[in-house]
Amino acid sequence: MTTSNGTKPGHHTVVAIVEDKPGVLQRVAGLFRRRGFNIESLAVGPTEFEGLSRMTIIVDGASAPVEQVEKQLYKLIDVVKVSDLTHDDAIKRELALLKVRCNNVNRHELLDIANVFRADVIDMATNSLMLQVVGDDDKIDGLIKMCEPYGIRELSRTGTIAMTRGQKTTTVHESEPEAIARVHQSQGRRVEADLPFSSD
C-alpha cells in the first residue's frame, strides 16, 4: 500500500542537494549509520548545476523522526539543501531491470504481463527475457510479484528519485542564495550574516 504520491506508510522521501565532492556519499551514509536511521533506498546523480549532486533517500521513519534526519543532514557542511517530499504532491519514479525465466510455451504470458505494466522487453534469449520497467514502488513491486512464479533470475533496481509537481522546485539556484534562506525560514529559522564568537 502506498500514499497517494507513492510513498509507503512509515517511509519518508528526503531529497538532499549536496556538493559534488569526494566523500560526500560517505558522509551521508555515515550519518545514517551513526544515528541509526535505516535507508530503504538511495539514488544519487548530477543536478542541473555543475558541482551539485542530488540524493533521493527513502528513510524508514520508524527508525527515527524524519525531522531529526533532516536536521542532522543539514549539519553536514556539504549538504546545501534538504527537502521532505513525503507529503508533497511529488512524482516518484524508479527503474528496474528483471531477468525472468521463460520458455517457448509461457513466453507469451510474460509478454502479456509486461504489456499490462507497460514494461519494455529489452533483451530476449531462449530461456529468459529481460524487462525494463519504470514506475513507483507499487508498480514495480506488482510486476515483480507477477513474474515470481516464472522465476526471477536477476533483479536490479535504481532506487527512487522524486520531483515535486507544478511550479515548486526542490533545487537550489546558485544565483539565488535567498532560496537557501527561504528553506531555513520555512523551518522556523532565520539566516543572517555570521555572528562572530568571542574568539573572533
Partner: protein
Amino acid sequence: MVRMTGSQILLECLQREGVSTIFGYPGGVVLPLYDTLPQFPAIQHVLVRHEQGAAHMADGYARASGEVGVCLATSGPGATNLVTGIATSFLDSTPMVAITGNVARTLLGKDGFQEADITGITQPITKHNYLVMRAENIAMTIREAFHIARTGRPGPVHVDIPKDVFQEEAEFEWPEEINLRGYRPTTKGHAGMIRRAADAINGAERPIIISGHGIVWGDASDELVALAEKAQIPVITTFLGIGGFPETNPLSYGFLGMHGMYHANMAADEADVVIGIGMRFDDRAMGRFNDFNPDATIVHIDIDPAEIGKNLPTAIPVVGHVKLVLPELIERLERRDRSKWLAWIDKVEEEHPSLEIRETRRLIPQEIVRTLYDETQGTATLVTGVGQHQMWAGQHYFYDSPRKLVSSGGLGTMGFELPAAIGAQMGMPESEIWAICGDAGFQMTMQELAVCVDERLPVKIAIMNNGYLGMVRQWQELFYDENFVSVAVTQPDFCKLAEAYGVRSLRVETKAEVLPAIQEARNYDGPILIDFHVDQDENVWPMVPAGAALSETIEIPEKELAR
C-alpha cells in the same frame, strides 16, 4: 600573487588566522612542514610527548582562551593518536583545527608505510574534515576550517595533507571571501518563537533556567545574568555550563545531573517551565528522559537546530545565537516576584545540603578543593580529568566567570587534565592553572610533564591519589555488590616521577599539610606537583543512579556521613 610551497602556504594561512601556538609531533610525512617552520618565527611549536596530548592541549588552549586550538601530527599512528582528543573536542563543541600529514598522493590508498585513512576515521567525530589534494587548495581549506571551527556551534575540523602537497608549489592568494553554500549557521532567533517563549516564562510560577556550555562559547554570561535578575528566575547549569552564570549570584543554584546538587535536581523536577539555554538535555544532566518532569513546558534555546527535540519533547524551540536571542527575550520578559519559588528551593537546599564538608579526621578530596577555593578566592582555573575528582572539583570550587573550569564532560576522557592544563596555561599565561588529577587518569598522559619543563609552565598539578579508579570503585560498591574487579591501581611514586622530569613535588598525607602545600605551590614559579594521599573509600554524593530520574537523587548515606 606569490609562488610558495604548500608548507609555506599552510603556515602563512595559520599566521593570518591568528595562530601563535601549535601543539605537535613531527614524523616522516610532515617533515617538509617542520622544515619550513623556522621561516615563521611568530608561530611557536610545542613539542608534545604523545599526539593525544597535542589534541588535548589544543582543546585546553581553546577552552581557557576562547581562541581556536591547533594541533599537528604525522600520518598513520600520529594521526590515529589524535583521535581521542578530537572526539573529546567534538562532544564538547570546542573550536579546534587538527592538521595531519599523509603519505604522498601516489601512495594514498595503497597501504603505504604509516598510512591510515584518517579522514575516514575522523569523519564522525569532526564538525567537518578535508583531504587537501592540491597545494593551491590549502589556503581556502584553512580559511574554511577556521571559519567552521569557530562559528555556529563550534567544533573540531580536521585537515589532512599528503606529503607531496606540502612540497608542491602554487600561487598563494589569501581568500578574502568564504562561500560555503551548505553552512549558514542560524544566528537570529525567530521573533514569533521568542514571543511564545516570553509568554510561557511570564506566565510561569516556577520557571527554571538550565544553562549550558553554549553560554560560555556564545559569550552571553552578562545577558544570562540580566535575564535571570530581571525575571527573578533561578539558574542551574549543566556541568559544562559551570561558570557561565556566576555561582556567587544569589540566583545561582549550582549544577544539576548525576552528581549535581540535590536541590538543583529537585528544582528542575518541580519547575513548571524549564528553559534550556545553550545546552543539549544530555542524559547525565537530565536523568531518565521519560521521567524528567513530565508536566513542565520545555523552552529550548540553542544554536543547533538538531538538538531541538532530540532527547526531550520541546514545546517552544528558539534556534539562534544566545548573544542575540537573550536580549530580545529579556525585552519581552516581565519583572516578577518569584520569592516563593526561590524560597522553596532554598528550603530544599537547607534541608538537603549537598556541599557540606563533614567533620572527619580523614583527608578527603572535597576539603582539598574547598581549601583551594578559599585560598585562591575563586581566581584560579581548574582543569580536571574524569571521575570522582572531576565531580568534587565541580562541586566544591565556586566559579564566578566562564572558562574557569576546563573539563571533558561529553566524552569523559581520562587523562585530559594534564595536557589540557598545559594548553590552558599556554593560552592564558597570566592565569593560575591547577590540573586536578585522578591518580589513574594522570598515568594516561603523565609523559606531558616534560612539556611543563620544556616550556617552563607554572602549572600546578594536584593528584587526588586514592589508589583506585575511584568512580568505577564507587559503582562497583553501589551497583555491583562490592565486587571490586580491576579497580585498585598501583602507581609509581608520583613525587619521584615528578623529580625525574625536573618537576618540583610535594607529598601530602594529613589534613594539616594541605594548606601549606597549596600555599607553597602558589608561591612557586614553575611546574609543581602535589601528591595528595586521600581517603580511599570516599564516594561522590549526591548521586542519580544510571537510568534513574532526577527525582530519585540519592544523598550521602548515614553510614558514610558518620565516617
